[in-house]
Each structure stands twice: as structure tokens, then as C-alpha cells.
Symmetry: C2
Subunit: 242 residues, 2 copies
Amino acid sequence: MPQAHAPRPIAVCLLSGGMDSAVCAAEAQQAGFDVRALSFRYGQRHGVELEAASRVARALRISDHRVVGVDLAALGGSALTDDIAVPRDRDLEGAGVPVTYVPARNTLFLAVALGWAESLGARDLFLGVNRVDYSGYPDCRPEFLRAFEALASLATAAGSERGVRFRVHAPLIELSKREIVLRAAELGVDLSLTHTCYAPRLERGPVQACGRCDACRLRLKGFAEAGLSDPIAYVPPENERP
Amino acid sequence: MPQAHAPRPIAVCLLSGGMDSAVCAAEAQQAGFDVRALSFRYGQRHGVELEAASRVARALRISDHRVVGVDLAALGGSALTDDIAVPRDRDLEGAGVPVTYVPARNTLFLAVALGWAESLGARDLFLGVNRVDYSGYPDCRPEFLRAFEALASLATAAGSERGVRFRVHAPLIELSKREIVLRAAELGVDLSLTHTCYAPRLERGPVQACGRCDACRLRLKGFAEAGLSDPIAYVPPENERP
């Protein structure tokens, strides 16, 4: 007699609205997890990315998508939460931590994800960090993810009382943007739903990505190298504007 | 010729409004730090503790006190954020994690403190966990604090680029409530400004502590054992009510 199907294990996946986390969530589903998605409203200057996260969650048929507000703007310190100008057209190979770095952001996001996972009885966390990120952001490196796993078991009742070992999965960690674009195509992730730009134009109808911030340029480079065209809208170059 | 005074190093201290964190902040000042205080609005059912935190910060002449909102209520799971009944009159020696446990709360609070510390150029974090807490809450144990220190250096630009080592200080970690009450007296911390109760009466004029939740009972026991009387107001016993 066949066994009843065991329920799929739950995983909490950080979902930003960008293409990396969308592909990451699809990878978690592909690996057999029942994915729950977690996004943050942390004093961003625009909510466009949260709308994108909702679209992605719906498209992936994720049953539960929560948005937790954290007013990091109260502490200042980054182009993504403050009124610091987003840099344009700069050298993507430049070393060092980007000005868009938010101090200890992934520690905070993973802490909230861990709390939710514990209350769901889950032990698996997913985030979409990749090779591009960890060249610049310290809290995207594999060593950081391993240190967070070590902390998680000590930080929770599940870990300290019942010996639950939490795992932080970063299935894209070795991938370039080109490989992420190709993987999205393989998994059927619709990248037209995602949003990447740090400085989008919102005034005239549908959102247009600037095409010039670091995030846009990395995205466009990834599509170009994959031999695919990016389905989202960009601000037209100045000489092509009406 | 005398050297100009070096500026005191900055420390970020978690300040809840309770007596432990008030004494902890005073200890940090006593140790020579320029203390900045950090509190959280995380979906508590009452803001009384934030008012207490403000009073304590003023009394200690702390130059900067920030309150960061985090809507953990969006995730559910604790008597402090949900509508679960706060237990009364229960055995304080009972083993296990209290129902007032908020999953991964200290990980989250320390992550925000770390981000603020990094933007201030500080490397010292203080929190008021003590012997009473770490018998019940996993994220108050010394092993947890050491694991967070290890994470902090990997999680930040300061740690990964400039080799800054962050320290998590818990000066009360070996103290009982009796010893904390006595230490407050020595340091001149006015405990009448603090708030401890999980289920205060707010309806009739000044706040009255219930005297029956775990937090009130531990506090009252500490004062009794120290041979001092608690200066805050409590709900009178039923047979003494008008």
C-alpha cells in the first residue's frame, strides 16, 4: 500500500522583488520545499520593489508572503534608505563596499527570517546572494552564512532545546548574473515581474528602470551575456526621447 | 603639557525600559563609554516600556536615544506581541522557554544595534541580560553572545575591511535580580523610572504593575531579597481595593 505523501518541508525565502531572489525562491521550490516568502519595508525611498516581490510571490504560487516593516531610516547611513545620491555609470569592477551597503542588513533580515522559521517549525532559510554580491557586500559571503547558521542554533529555543540545526541556503552563490538569467529561463521564472533599479523613474505611467545605476548595469550585462533581452522597461537614452 | 582628553569610545546599549537595561547602561557609562541607547517598538501591546526607556535615557543623560520600529506582530508567536494571555502566579523555577519568548528577538535587536554601531564607528554593544534570563531564554546565554561577536566581524564592512572586532558586553550576566537591585543603588540608577510588568493596568491614572506576571514577581523577589522596597506602583491586592 502506498504511503501517504509526507508534507513538503517549509522553507523561508527572502524575496526582494529583484531577479536573484525570484530565482532563489524557484530553486527552493525545485528542491522540494514549501516556500514562504519574506520581504522588508525598511525605509526604502520607493515601494516599487515590494510590488515586484508580491508579483513574484503570486507567479510562483507561494502560499504565504509577509512584509515586515523595519524603520532603518531612523539610524541613517545608506543610499537605499537616505537621500544620498545613487551613483551612476561607475566602474563596476571597482573594489570596496558599495555606498548602497546597509550596515548589517542581511544579519537583520536573516534574524527575522529565523524567528519566523522557528514559529513555523521550519529549519531552512534561503537567500539569493550570488557571486556579484559577495565581491562587494561583506554579509553576502559564504563565511558569513556559515557563521549565521552557527548563531541560529544557539539563538533559538528550537536549536537549544530540540537540537534543530538551521541551514542557510544560497543556491546562487557561485552564479554570475549571466548564469542567473539563464537559470531563470530554465526554471520558467518570469523576469518581467522583477525590479532591480535603485533610481527608477516613476512619474510617467509604468515604472522605468534608469539603466545607469550599478544594479541596472549588472542586470543588463547579465542579459547581454546570456544573449537574451531584458523584458522590463528602461528610461530611453536622452537622444531618443521625444 | 597635559594631553587633550581623548573622546570616550561610543557604545550602543539596548534599552528596554526595564531595570536590567537601565543598570546595564549605567555600567557602560561607569566603564567609560559614551552611551547611545537603542529601543524597539516591535508590536508590543503597550508603549509603557518605551516611555520608561525615554525616562531612563534622560536620567542617565544619554545624548542619543533612537527607537526603531519592527512589526514582528506580522509574524505572530509570542505573548508580548500577540493576544496570548500572559501567565500569572506560575512557578518561577519551572524549566523551559517562557511563553513570552519572542523567536530570535535578541538576534534581531543585536543586528540593528550592530548596524547602528557600524555607522557610528563604534565597536561595543551592551545588553542587560542576566542570570535570570539565560536560564530561560536561549538568546541570552554567553555562548549566544560569543557567536554573535563572531558573526559581527564577518557581517560588517568595518569587520571585513578594517579588521574591527565587535564586542558584546553583558555586564549583568552573572547577577541575580537581588544583585541588580543592589547595583542600581550603588550606581545611583533611579529604578522608579523603570517598567517591568507584562500586563500593567493603564486605565486609571498612573500605570500600575500587575504584581503577578513572571516579570513582576522576579522584580519584587529581587527587591525583597535586597531588603529594599520597590518604588513603582502596583495594583493593590483584591482585598485591599476600595
